[in-house]
Symmetry: D2
């Protein structure tokens, strides 16, 4: 049976991925903050003592609250550096991804079009995207695919926190709506279900035609 670990799997996009993997009979461990909080490296290590291998790994975590650059503290840098970057690095250094497996990173469209209110997230998610890109070439040798999904505006609690007037905001979006977590859940599921392996080392912007750069 295919084993999957979905970080941040108790809500939002993580939950949608977790649900869709269960629907194809994966043995899913959908973690909550109690199971692993990547901002706490000691907890990460404890988690890694208990979970030494998996077939599918979904690296996913919420970001910090919106904050202007001038307001970011040293503590913020330090905490989110762990949460969005070092925690994931420790995991990839230790955990064994079984041959033929998958690593999905749920990053954000801000890695390419950084956002002043999400400066912490823009920086560290981009940093980790570099790491995953580099590693994708090694993982490829074991037939493990690394897929970085960069969601744009999604219908999650997080977006509701960040955007004041969601209804007005929707009107500015090409599709007139937010993306649904289930769309990403189904996307991940169908890649696994169809054993699509050659999609790797890639960032997939998932934003309903909202970005402005061509590629």
């Amino acid at each position: 049976m295919t084993k999957a670990i979905v970080l941040g799997g108790s809500r939002g996009i993580g939950k949608a991925i977790s649900d869709s993997l269960k629907s194809i009979n994966c043995d899913v461990f959908a973690t909550s903050k109690e199971d692993i909080d990547t901002s706490n490296l000691e907890l990460v290590k404890k988690f890694l003592d208990a979970h030494k291998e998996t077939d599918i790994l979904v690296l996913n975590t919420g970001g910090p609250k919106a904050k202007e650059f001038s307001d970011v503290t040293e503590n913020d840098w330090s905490k989110y550096h762990n949460q969005l970057f070092v925690g994931f690095c420790l995991i990839l250094q230790k955990i064994k991804i079984n041959e033929g497996g998958y690593i999905f990173l749920i990053s954000s469209s801000v890695i390419k079009e950084p956002n002043p209110k999400l400066i912490i997230s823009s920086a560290y998610r981009a940093a980790f995207s570099e790491v995953l890109k580099i590693l994708s070439k090694d993982y490829a040798q074991k037939n493990i695919s690394c897929i970085n999904i960069a969601p744009g505006p999604m219908n999650t609690d997080r977006t509701k926190e960040l955007i004041e007037n969601i209804d007005e905001y929707k009107k500015t979006l090409p599709m007139g709506r937010l993306g649904e977590p289930e769309e990403i859940g189904n996307f991940v599921k169908s890649i696994i279900e169809n054993n699509i392996k050659y999609l790797s080392g890639v960032v997939i912007n998932f934003d309903g035609a909202n970005s402005n750069y061509v590629f």
Copy 2:
């Protein structure tokens, strides 16, 4: 019943997409060179007289033979400009994509990492990628998703023509193999099957971790 037109649907990636769409009961018209040759604009117009709408459109065509820049003739520019660019533009200007539909472009990884031997293809496929990007925002309003798939080295007749020693070449690839057309076929299928719409206005590099840029 969902209607699909797959250009260049008689072989390679086009055929794989066509086959996978048939497997989910789409009504697929997989064109061959006899049905439509986008290098001949009169034939394109004839085709458009007979095919006025579709739910799914797959824009796909082979590229020119490998040719160094110094050897490219005015005729080459003209012919492949039509084949890889104008023909597709005429189609998008005329054909009606039904609401909730999809446009897939099968371009090439050379649009981002251009290849000296494929200079014609690099240029015109990039040009059309710009067009599709622009149009994705309009199509979004009708819930039509535009997805540009940029294959890297695939297991097609074309690759065999371009590469002398395929076995040696494979060893240089991160996955040690070429991509299979079926992987793209299944990818397209599963997007449609799962009604994933928020993936739009995006280029998806499909190259087995072969590219070197992060995003």
Copy 3:
């Protein structure tokens, strides 16, 4: 004496480059539409009969009027394909750039962030950017640097044609103003003056912090 050919050198950015090159004692041929119109390939060839070599080549030409995709005619594609793409290709196929020389392309920021009103320009300028990128590696062997400058909103007649209310528009720009052609002129001049050669094979967005993608 250093010889320079500046296409479209009678006005706007081309003129500014031409003027600044003259200020460092280059022997500048600043062409006008009478000397060479790249939309007319026969005139291009005639020009090439008379001008067989140069040290510095500035590929620069105006774009088409603003036009929505649905309004673009086959004639438009054909004309601007020549003007923005094939004409430049013919020039690079024939003209000799002397060792240690420079090729500057004045493209546009729309190659990376395509603009619905400038769809023709977005497409063909991107296409030619691919060609120049490919060739930059060959030219490098002869110590010839290829630099693609992609201007954003500049203070030119062209911008005034495209934008209705320039004063309102300026307020939307990060610097509160348009770029001055002289800034690009001086930029080009100082690269040559300082013999900076290692800057090559690169697109330099010149847009007053207006773009939204990180790189």
Copy 4:
């Protein structure tokens, strides 16, 4: 008199920039490790107590030794996070750049084409590039230009440490040589000398046509 602070100004690219700014009569403070070591945040703060404003700021620092991902320790992440990222952030949060000034970041071509041996550098330099991109829009309002120069293989001590056989390596480069720090020094100088301001919010790859992506 124009005031400039050049971090890491005692050797390599930093020294070349420092020298070229002196040649145009800037009042340059070229820091060495004794003056400020961005890996030590307390020293950064001390430095900021003594240096409260400048016209030109050059953010420049060496990177870590080459290290494979599996060998990177928590200490490494922490140290270089400070050196390549947090230290620079603290500086930009505190120091006043005078109106009409410049911020140059000397990053690396690895931010776009990450390198397995330089994984730390790839990650944190990319992260800070996000920050500078975001801030460039604010700085633009005070006519301050932010320019991210991303050097490829340069003729510095650093490159000699990283590459075993430099002569063999040179043969693989399009120009057959490394870049000279003076080329970057002159580049920076000429932007300031010519008061080119509209070049901002941009990454300029400076790699002798070595990169493979088009843009």
